[in-house]
Structure formats: C-alpha cells, structure tokens
C-alpha cells in the first residue's frame, strides 16, 4: 500500500518533511493525465492542422503586424495569440509548427528506434565479435557532439526536413542499440529460449519471435522519452538556422524569428517556447509514468 491510501486526515497529521518525502507525482493519476491530455492536444493539432487553423501559416497581413495576444490591451479577437512582424497569425503558425516538429520527432524516433533495436537484438543474441564491433561503433556515434555533427551534415547535404531526421537518427540509434542489447543478453539465457534453440528453431526466428517482443516494453518507454528529446533537437537545429527552412514553420524557427523583437513583442518567442516546454515535459512525464507502470521492480 502506498501514499494513495493515506486518508486526508492522516496526511495532515504528518510532519511537513515526511509529506514531501512521500511526494510521488507519478503515482497519482493527475500528472500523467495532464501529460496525456497535452500530448493528445498537440498530436490532434498536428494531424488536423490545415482544418482547424484560423489562417494559412504564411498569409501576410502587414496592416495587422505585431498585434499582441487577444487578452492584452490592443489585442484583437481575430488573432488569439497575436501576429508576427509580417502580420502572420501566431496560433496558425504554432499549429503548422506542431505538424513539422512532431512529424520530425516521430519519424526520427521510429527510424532511429528501428535501426537501434535491430542492431541491439542481433549484437546481443549473436554476441562475440559482432557484438563488440556493433557496440564500439555505437560508442563512436555517442562520442560525437550533436551540434558539430548536425553542422557537418548540413554543410555536406544541405538543410531540410529529411536531413534533420537523419541527424537525429544518427544520434539516437545507439541509445536503443545499447538498451536492447543489454535486455537481449538477459533474455537469451532464459529457459524458453534455450528450449527453442534445442528444438531447432532457426536463430532468426528466435530473435524475431521470442527475443524482440520481450524487449518491447523498455523500447516503448525509451521511444516516448525520446520523442521529447527529438523535439528539442529539431528545435535547436531550426533555431540555429540549419534545420527547418522558411517558408516551412517549426517551433524552433519561430523562436529564432521572434528573437530580435523580444523587447516589445514577447509573445513571438515566449509562446513557441512555452509550447516546446509543454511538449517535452508531457512526453517525458508520459514516458516515466509508463516506465513505472511496466517495470515491476519500480514498485508503482
């Protein structure tokens, strides 16, 4: 039994420090629920973007440039979150940015995850030289600083949606490979794998049917945590000008565009910033909550 079963009266009676020590936000439904709702809103915005956004992301209206959000003095209900220096609607651009940012993050996570899982399963199951080689290569990838690698890729291949995904994949697959490899080494000595091997089940089939599915719990957790990380990476690249290029929109690009006007048009940087923080925190919370739920040792 845990903190959740303590009655409110008893809770009050506890000294303040004890209460803080027992504070486990992931065990109450509130925070995970909030995170799930935020993720759902963001994903819905990304999917439904063109149908729900009030304006086109690049419809210029110079007469209404730099309009503050609706609740400010001088704000207008026509532009709920205000407009930028070209009079483009911030809400519409955030929605359009959700589409690009989440698509890039999801694609990079799926692709990097698939590569990493494949490498991890094979390396862990076969072991020996194959394992050593795969792990040293992943070490090498993990050792390269991300921004340096990103700049190098952009310098050689140019920027763009595909190349951003490539850069993120290059940095995230080794994380999956290492996680899955360590899981596989534990699973391959379990009795059901031994019996399958003795019965003559081919190695490829053992890996696909018995090893891989048994690693999916932890891969799912890492994947969800990684979506948050990929959003940060994509935003950083776009902010530095080597990621998403105009006329496309991403949250990081909006931050960069509004930067010079921070003094008198705070909403151009603050709002995309808030959205990035909300998105990353929600995906992380969801990931940690799932981890606590799926891992029996975490005692959730």
């Amino acid at each position: 039994m845990n903190a959740g079963t303590v009655t409110p009266a008893a809770e009050q009676a506890l000294p303040r420090r004890r209460r803080l020590g027992r504070w486990r936000p992931l065990q109450s439904p509130g925070l995970p629920l909030l995170a799930t709702a935020t993720c759902a809103v963001l994903v819905a915005a990304a999917v439904l973007g063109p149908w729900i956004s009030p304006y086109a992301k690049d419809s210029v209206d110079l007469a209404n440039a730099i309009a503050p959000p609706a609740w400010q003095p001088d704000g207008t209900a026509a532009h709920l979150l205000g407009t930028d220096q070209l009079g483009r609607d911030v809400l519409s651009r955030l929605i359009a940015g959700a589409r690009i940012s989440l698509a890039a993050a999801a694609a990079a996570t799926l692709l990097g995850g698939s590569i990493g899982v494949a490498v991890g399963v094979v390396a862990g199951y076969i072991g020996g030289l194959a394992d050593a080689v795969a792990m040293r290569i992943s070490d090498a990838f993990l050792a390269v600083p991300f921004i340096l690698l990103a700049l190098a890729v952009v310098a050689v291949l140019g920027s763009g949606f595909g190349n951003i995904i490539l850069v993120i994949v290059v940095t995230n697959w080794p994380r999956y490979a290492r996680l899955v490899r360590s899981e596989v080494i534990g699973i391959k000595h379990r009795d059901f794998v031994t019996l399958a091997r003795i019965a003559g089940v081919p190695p490829a089939r053992i890996m696909l049917r018995h090893i891989l599915p048994n690693t999916l719990n932890s891969v799912t957790v890492l994947g969800i945590l990684d979506v948050g990380r990929a959003i940060i990476l994509e935003s950083s690249l776009s902010f530095l000008g080597v990621g998403i290029q105009p006329p496309d929109v991403s949250w990081g690009l909006m931050l960069a565009d509004g930067r010079t006007l921070l003094g008198f048009a705070w909403w151009l940087t603050t709002l995309p910033g808030v959205v990035i923080v909300a998105a990353v925190m929600s995906f992380n919370t969801l990931g940690y909550w799932l981890k606590a739920r799926l891992d029996p040792r975490a005692g959730a």
């Binding site: 009795d191 019996l195 399958a196 019965a199 003559g200 081919p202 049917r209 018995h210 048994n214």
Partner: protein, 320 residues
C-alpha cells in the same frame, strides 16, 4: 543391443583463472533405449555437467575428453553445429523451472505449434497440439491452448513442457530436476507421466536429481555420482536395498527416518570436496569410514556386484 548413449572415459574440465577444474572424470556409462535412469548426487557432483556433455551443450570454457557415441555414431570431437544437426532432434529436454520455460507472450497452443512445425513441418499441425495436451492429461485442453503461461499453474506448465518434449519423438529425454520446483502431490503425477511416455514411445529417459525419493519411485536404474565420478551404478532395487559404495550407503542412511515418535536425520560428516582439489584418487575418501591407503593413491576400477550392478570402491569386497 547397441546402447543409445555410450560414454567412454568422458572427462570434462573447466579452465579457470585458478587453473583447471575437473567437473567430470573418466566416466564410462551406457544408456540403453527405453531405459529410465536416475542420476543422483549432490550439487557439485558433476551430474548436470555430465548431462550437458550428453546434450552437446557444454559452455565454451569446458574441455571434453573421451568419447561420446550416440546410437552407434561417434559425436564427440565434431563441431557443435554438426552435433546439433546429427542428434539435436534425437534429444529433448525438460528443465527444472516450468515458470520460465515458456515464452510469456504467446498462448500455449502457439508455442506447441511452433515446436511441432519446426520438427515435423506445417502439415503435421492440425489437431496435434490438442492431442499433446490430452496425452499429458491436462484438464480442459481446448481452453489451455488459448491460455497464456501465466494462467497455468507450475504443475500444468510442467505437463505442457513434458508433452512438448515427448512429442518431438526424441530417442532420449533429459530431465534436469523436473520435479524440484513442484509441490509433493504434483511431483507424483509428473513422475507417472515419464513412465507413460517411455511405455508409449520407448524413449530413454534420464532424470537428474538430488531427490532419492524421485529415483526410487520412477527409475529402473540409478547412477550415483560423487566428486565428478560415477561411484555406483545398478538397478534401483538392488542399489537401494544393498548399496555397496560407502557414499551410497551414507546417502541412504541420511534420508530422514521416523523411528517411533522421533524423526532421525543422519548427516554425512565432512564436506563436499572442492572440485579444484580432485585428482586420481577416490573423492569420497576424506569422509569415508572405510578409507585406506589405496583410496588416496588411485581411483578404484569397476567391481561387478552382479551383471548390471557395478561399484567403484577399494572396499567393495568388504561386507557392509
């Protein structure tokens, strides 16, 4: 009759940083088709290593010497892949812990199908899984096919695993402590299954256990191991009623007995020998009441008590 498994002077050593460790020394052993044999011994007696040698599943750091013949073909000294191909299908295994021997992610039926499919091809599948569950007397077999391992008890899972092992029509079934993880009432039912399988398909069954009660109930022949050596080998009845090796005698005396109102537990003095200190002498001699100089000088040769009952002891001639 050609023995199914024939071990000739088989030794297994493990190379460790402290030097080689002798796990099994110079074992001569033949197992005939259709026999139910129990290998008895304490932990560290070499019984599991001997089994793994028969399986061709020794760990990489183990070195095998001597010869292993299977159904008239010499298999020792061949590459592992070839050994597996030659006789991987002729041997099936039942492991100690039925809780970990099934993949938790698939229903029972699908796991049986996979094994049958690999062994006999997809054409053999229809109805076979159900037939297998019936053969091991599982209740509600149609339901079990759709259930996941966590929905079955340990005894039910061990039945499933024994059914799967016997369905391969292997010539040899190796069972490593098959009843240790089960409670006593289930043990009896599982042991009956082994007899049924042998009677039905003539499979030779080797049961490795430290539980002499299991051997007495189901095995026709018992092999007693100590310190990596076979010390006594013979028909269960003969060995249990007239043990000739001092270790076997001590082992049987150490079974808890009820005398009047008291439960008597007779322990063997001393400790199991350190495997790094074994050599060409009787490993039991430091704990043996009958030990003499010869015991420390050389491991004794075989003494035939009767045709099938043999003992390895310098004091074998001495009446008990």
């Amino acid at each position: 009759m050609t023995p199914l498994v024939d071990l000739r002077q088989v030794s297994v050593t493990f190379g460790t940083s402290q030097g080689p460790i002798l796990a099994v020394s110079a074992v001569d052993l033949a197992i005939r088709p259709g026999e139910i044999v129990g290998i008895a011994g304490e932990s560290g007696s070499g019984k599991t290593t001997l089994c793994r040698a028969i399986m061709g599943a020794l760990p990489d750091e183990a070195r095998l010497s001597g010869e292993i013949w299977f159904a008239g073909t010499r298999i020792s000294g061949r590459p592992v892949a070839e050994i597996r191909r030659l006789w991987g299908r002729e041997i099936a295994m039942v492991l100690q812990n039925p809780m970990t021997a099934l993949d938790p992610l698939y229903p029972i039926g699908s796991q049986i199908d996979e094994m049958i499919g690999v062994r006999f091809g997809a054409a053999a599948l229809p109805g076979r899984a159900l037939e297998i569950l019936r053969s091991v007397h599982l209740t509600a077999p149609e339901l079990r096919l759709r259930q996941y391992p966590h929905q079955l008890s340990g005894g039910m899972r061990q039945r499933v695993l024994i059914g799967m092992a016997s369905a391969t029509r292997a010539k040899l079934l190796l069972a490593d402590e098959p009843t240790t993880a089960l409670d006593a009432t289930i043990q009896e039912e599982i042991l009956v299954l082994f007899r049924e399988i042998r009677d039905r398909s003539g499979t030779a069954i080797v049961i490795v256990t430290h539980d002499l009660g299991v051997i007495r109930r189901v095995c026709e022949r018992v092999i007693v191991m100590y310190g990596g050596r076979v010390v006594e080998d013979g028909p269960t009845e003969a060995v249990f009623t007239a043990p000739r090796h001092p270790y076997t005698r001590a082992l049987l005396e150490s079974l808890p007995r009820i005398e009047g109102e008291e439960i008597v537990l007779q322990a063997i003095d001393g400790q199991v020998p350190d495997p790094s200190e074994l050599g060409d002498f009787c490993p039991f001699s430091p704990r043996c009441r009958l030990a003499r100089e010869a015991c420390l000088a050389k491991f004794p040769g075989e003494t035939r008590v009767t045709g099938a009952h043999r003992v390895f002891c310098w004091a074998a001639e001495q009446p008990p």
